[in-house]
């Protein structure tokens, strides 16, 4: 399929960077149980209004600072709970030009040569809704809101959403990934695949197809949401080449296989101590 025409040039001016706003909302319970001290974990949990009709809005300028874009809001956070343990989240992206296929990725493509893929504007359909629920339950042991509920207002999103849909010659749709299309980058917002075709590695396959599409458009980066090191459902992202992680403090992207990334993984959260005597944060 031919690449889409981009309506703007490839140059994206960075938006004015808002410094990450830390808030100390989470009591470090481990520390409290051991010492009785009120130590709070400082995390970033920011929201910002975004005008989806602003023609000058460059989605990738937001993505490059760890934001996700909704209808009218941008969100970003460096924190989540995994099995009741606070974990760091690192927004993740790939340098498309440097993304080289290893032998195992080529094997995945070859293994799935009988499947057909289409890239087109995303439309919610019953088949995709059912597949999404099946995938969520098998992978995360919980159900998520239906696609038809989340994406009722596709027309009002800042970046159009396209679907990379994978069809099996007999079974129909067996995998899809939804990608937001910016001016020089794409962002995978949701992926689902049928759990009963495990040998096909459909998650990897759809990812490779999304990168292939980003490459066909001449994009610089492909974003995939956050990596959570402790959670295998998210840490798999580090297996792919040309991977970069967002360094919150420095507002920079760091190669995932660098020393600096390793240091980011082991760095503890910032903490603030609450002083019950003065009823205020301690110095």
């Amino acid at each position: 399929m031919k690449p889409e025409r981009r309506e703007f040039g490839n140059t994206v001016n960075p938006r004015v960077t808002l410094a990450p706003q830390y808030s100390a909302d989470h009591l470090d319970e481990d520390h409290f149980n051991k010492t009785g001290e009120f130590l709070y974990i400082e995390t970033i949990d920011q929201e910002e209004m975004v005008d989806p009709f602003d023609e000058g809005l460059a989605p990738e300028a937001y993505w490059a600072e760890g934001w996700n874009l909704g209808y009218y809001m941008g969100y970003r956070s460096d924190f989540c709970w995994h099995i009741d343990v606070p974990c760091k989240m690192f927004p993740t992206r790939y340098r498309v030009a440097d993304f080289e296929l290893s032998r195992s990725f080529r094997r995945v493509l070859k293994l799935n040569a009988d499947l057909q893929c289409v890239v087109r504007p995303f439309r919610v359909t019953p088949a995709k809704d059912a597949l999404d629920q099946l995938h969520c339950y098998s992978r995360f042991q919980k159900l998520k809101p239906l696609l038809s509920k989340i994406y009722t207002n596709l027309r009002h999103r800042c970046a159009p959403i396209y679907e990379v849909t994978v069809f099996h010659p007999v079974r129909g749709i067996i995998a899809f990934t939804l990608i937001e299309i910016g001016h020089n980058a794409s962002y995978a917002v949701r992926t689902a695949w049928t759990p009963d075709e495990k040998p096909r590695s459909l998650g990897t396959f759809t990812f490779l197809k999304a990168v292939e599409y980003a490459r066909s458009l001449g994009f610089e980066h492909h974003y995939v949401g956050p990596t959570i090191l402790a959670d295998p459902a998210f840490s798999y992202k580090l297996r792919f080449p040309a991977c970069e992680l967002y360094e919150w403090e420095a507002n920079e992207w760091v190669a995932s296989d660098s020393e600096r990334a390793n240091a980011m993984f082991v760095a503890p959260f910032r903490h603030r101590r609450w002083d019950p005597e003065t009823n205020d944060w301690a110095e």
Binding site: P3, R120, P169
Partner: protein
């Protein structure tokens, strides 16, 4: 689910002709269709606007002006004005899913090959360069045949209880009428036009 995707009859043979024609053939074609173009409401083929045109400037002069600037846009305008014989019809969620969830919604790789029952994407059909105005104005569409419309009718019937009787009837009648038209007119297809 709020996207307003539409269906329109589409003259694929004529569109291919317009894409194939060189400058001279295209001018002759415009002159032969000038009356029809002038009489159309909401047309995009601005080079035949008679009212706004200084009387000394002939159709050929204005045509050349546009053609020199962007031949793709001229062709796009003609396709827009002449290849859709009816008004757009908004297809509902249940009917459109019959097409979108089916394997045949995958586009064939080449428009010159037999379609293998697959739809044709406007991205493959229209040869506009990526940065042309024509590309900007063309809304993305898939060219469907009768079987695709059949899939939509079937999906609509399966979800009969989920739509109002009025909507069900309107949708089904339109789909059936399109099926009949495609049976009678071998050059015609249906364009599934994606909402922006």
């Amino acid at each position: 689910m709020n996207e307003k995707d539409t269906l329109r009859l589409f003259d694929l043979a004529l569109a291919r002709e317009i894409i194939r024609m060189d400058r001279d053939e295209l001018l002759r074609f415009v002159e032969s269709r000038e009356e029809q173009l002038r009489g159309m409401p909401g047309k995009r083929s601005v080079f035949v606007f008679s009212n706004d045109r200084v009387s000394t400037r002939t159709t050929a002069m204005v045509f050349d002006e546009f053609f020199k600037e962007d031949p793709a846009e001229v062709r796009q305008m003609l396709i827009h004005d002449l290849c859709y014989p009816n008004e757009p019809f908004e297809i509902n969620y249940y009917a459109r899913c019959g097409y979108l969830d089916h394997l045949s919604s995958i586009h064939v790789n080449s428009v010159d090959e037999p379609t293998n029952g697959g739809a044709i994407s406007s991205r493959d059909l229209l040869p506009w360069p990526e940065d042309s105005e024509a590309c900007y104005w063309t809304r993305r569409f898939d060219v469907l045949d009768r079987d695709h419309i059949g899939l939509m009718s079937e999906a609509l019937r399966k979800n009969r209880e989920k739509v109002t009787t009025e909507e069900y009837t309107k949708q089904l009648l339109t789909l059936r009428s399109m099926e009949k038209t495609l049976d009678l007119e071998p050059n015609l297809r249906v364009a599934y036009i994606y909402d922006r």
